[in-house]
């Protein structure tokens, strides 16, 4: 049952923090499948305003991933708190796409980028922590260089800031990239880009974003919670596949939710506001037998509203 709470105004929001809820749905030909019921359930104390859904295949344990055009053959139906979102029919993922995010393929296959409609405030000496881990099955694809870069501007000078680092990862253990504001002023972070480079030192293969999973959290600022929340996995521990983070640039299909402010159900940046305890449910159907055994990755991108 949906709990009706008094409307919150933008003024009552103390701060916002990006959130990505993600999960996976197994693809079985001629069968309707869905994800674990806990995956898109809001378990936080504050509401989240979702602005976009992203869809992309997940690489399997052997390191294989279906060609992106096969997304045409996957159909999706979305329920939000028990009500169908946009249509009660299963619609091809291709028609869900309503926000362009692809660039020239060498870029969108290796980089993902997300823009924050609500900037993230990063104090002097504070750090954002990016954790990167390659998917199992891709050991032979390593070592590769991973870059994480936050972009923002100084709150006093308005000058641009680029806060990030890169490192070369050669095994499947998680690696950390610390992004620290060493400047003399606080910075409003407005976007994040993560890039997976070609194999080093030969550079014989191109970048491949689908090989990597990532996680972000603030070490001092914000809620100090992880930004990306997914199914519990004993080895991959909530890290999100990179394609599911490519809101502005990336290989995934991006569906932007309605951005018209609508009181209770949306935030100041539009979207759909979900209260704690509410959930999304994605149902998936395909007739394509070549997709048997693969998973569809789905993410819901938005902002936690701490009120």
């Amino acid at each position: 049952m949906t709990v009706i709470v008094p409307p919150k105004t933008a003024d009552s929001v103390a701060f916002s923090e990006p959130r990505v809820y993600f999960g996976f749905v197994p693809l079985r030909p001629n069968e309707i499948t869905t994800h674990d019921s806990e995956v898109f359930l809001l378990g936080e104390k504050h509401p989240v305003v979702f602005t976009r859904f992203l869809f992309h295949f997940r690489a399997n344990e052997e390191g294989a991933i279906p060609p992106i055009e096969r997304l045409q053959n996957v159909r999706v139906r979305i329920h939000a708190s028990g009500q169908e979102y946009t249509s009660r029919e299963f619609l091809s993922l291709a028609i869900w796409q309503n926000q362009p995010n692809m660039t020239a393929s060498p870029v969108s296959s290796s980089s993902v980028s997300m823009h924050f409609d609500r900037p993230v405030y990063l104090n002097r000496r504070d750090q954002l922590f990016v954790e990167a881990q390659f998917e199992p099955g891709f050991l032979t694809e390593l070592p590769r260089t991973v870059d994480a870069l936050f972009h923002g501007f100084g709150v006093e000078t308005n000058r641009p800031y680029y806060i990030g680092d890169s490192l070369t990862i050669s095994d499947l253990t998680p690696a950390s990239i610390l992004c620290r504001n060493d400047g003399v002023e606080s910075v409003m972070i407005v976007s994040l880009s993560i890039t997976v480079g070609p194999r080093v030192p030969s550079y014989t293969t191109g970048g491949a974003a689908h090989l990597l999973r990532a996680q972000v959290k603030g070490l001092v600022n914000g809620t100090q919670q992880i930004w990306f929340k997914g199914p519990v996995d004993p080895t991959l521990n909530d890290r999100c596949p990179l394609p599911l983070l490519g809101v502005c640039v990336g290989p995934a299909i991006v569906h932007e939710l309605d951005r018209t402010p609508r009181g209770l159900r949306s935030g100041a940046v539009g979207g759909v506001r979900m209260q704690p305890g509410e959930n999304f449910r994605f149902e998936v159907y395909t007739e394509d037998s070549t997709l048997d055994g693969f998973d569809l990755g789905i993410s819901a991108f938005g902002y936690l509203e701490v009120v």
């Binding site: 045409q72 053959n73 979102y85 091809s92 291709a94 028609i95 362009p100 692809m102 018209t260 159900r265």
Partner: protein, 356 residues
């Protein structure tokens, strides 16, 4: 302020052989195709697209058979050196090489997902009794290349609807359809009647399946309305289409593998090869939104496979006014560019019923 606006597209295609041309040649589009015919018109976009090619970029491995060259050469070659001039009332208002179209880089269209859309600048108001009918036509395949599962290419037609009473603000009216693939040697867009077997430009009756395989019918549109006692009208905000061409691309590769270097050749989108029409069947002006049979790529300005230019200010045209388009093509300088330039141009905007 006008009460409402209705989508309109003025479009035309020119087609020319270039193998015997030794000097630049000027091709003029049919002016009557760009004459405002039912209500004042404001154009927001100019689209340019190569029509009916098999490949956006072609790198042949061996000398191909002649019929292959007649229609299936390199679309990018047709565009990259041609120069388009737009004239209004004896005045050139725009002149550019299509690949340098201002605004051509607003998002990269990816044929692998094969979806195009028109985000309406003005909400298109429909009452509960109104209906819109959209139809994708038959795909004429001159080389008889068809998907293995039959001559049916899956497609979807959809409208997004702003709905303030719905908790999530938006509903969607959509219909799965199929694009039938014909084995007729007559290409859909044989505008200069080049093929010996052709019988001239196809009529709407020949371009669209009579049984309505590609149709998002008025009945289906009306049936999907949101039921609400307090809401007698809604705003359509987006019109989109998807043509699923995976099997078509695979078959193309299988059948032409010996002729074409597929590692470097890029198949052209079926949006350039499939005709489309749309109209209000109840409400609106009850006329087709454009001359029937436009290639689908010429009617989706927001995101699609055509090159697009958005006018800084909408181009206002009164009833009866027309726009002149000229395309200057250079002489052919190699086999890839030989034989055929076939380019479509459209003005995409809105009719303003009641305006002078």
């Amino acid at each position: 302020m006008y009460a409402w606006r209705e989508p309109r597209v003025l479009w035309s295609v020119v087609s020319e052989r270039t193998d015997s041309v030794s000097r630049p040649r000027t091709l003029r589009f049919d002016r009557e195709h760009f004459r405002v015919y039912d209500a004042a018109f404001e154009a927001h976009y100019l689209l340019v697209a190569p029509i009916n090619y098999l490949f956006d970029a072609l790198v042949p491995s061996v000398a191909p058979p002649l019929p292959f060259w007649m229609y299936q050469n390199d679309a990018s070659a047709a565009l990259r050196r041609a120069r388009l001039t737009v004239g209004l009332a004896h005045r050139n208002v725009l002149s550019f090489t299509p690949f340098a179209t201002p605004g051509a880089l607003q998002g990269v269209w990816d044929r692998r997902l094969s979806t195009a859309w028109w985000q309406f600048d003005y909400g298109l108001t429909v009452t509960t009794d109104d209906a819109i009918e959209v139809e994708l036509g038959v795909h004429h395949s001159p080389l008889n290349i068809d998907p293995p599962e039959g001559r049916r290419i899956p497609a979807v037609l959809a409208f997004d609807e702003q709905n303030e009473l719905h908790p999530y603000g938006r509903i969607n009216r959509a219909q799965d359809v199929v694009v039938l693939s014909s084995s007729s040697p007559q290409p859909a867009f044989d505008f200069d009647n080049y093929n010996a077997a052709s019988v001239g430009v196809l009529t709407p009756g020949q371009l669209f399946d009579q049984a309505g395989a590609g149709k998002f019918s008025a009945g289906s549109f009306r049936k999907q309305r949101a039921i609400s006692a307090s809401q007698d009208r809604a705003q359509l905000t987006r019109f989109s289409a998807h043509i699923g061409d995976i099997s078509w691309g695979t078959q193309l590769q299988t059948e032409l593998g010996a002729v074409v270097n597929f590692a470097e050749s890029v198949p052209s989108s079926l949006f350039h090869r499939v005709p489309i029409r749309a109209k209000h069947t109840a409400g609106g002006l009850e006329k087709h939104w454009w001359r029937e049979g436009a290639p689908a790529s010429l009617v989706f300005p927001t995101f699609g496979p055509a090159l697009r230019h958005r006018f800084p200010k909408p181009l206002e045209l009164k009833l009866g006014e027309a726009v002149d388009f000229e395309l200057v093509i250079p002489p052919a300088d190699g086999p890839v560019e030989s034989f055929r330039v076939q380019v479509g141009v459209s003005l995409v905007g809105y009719a303003k019923p009641g305006a002078a």
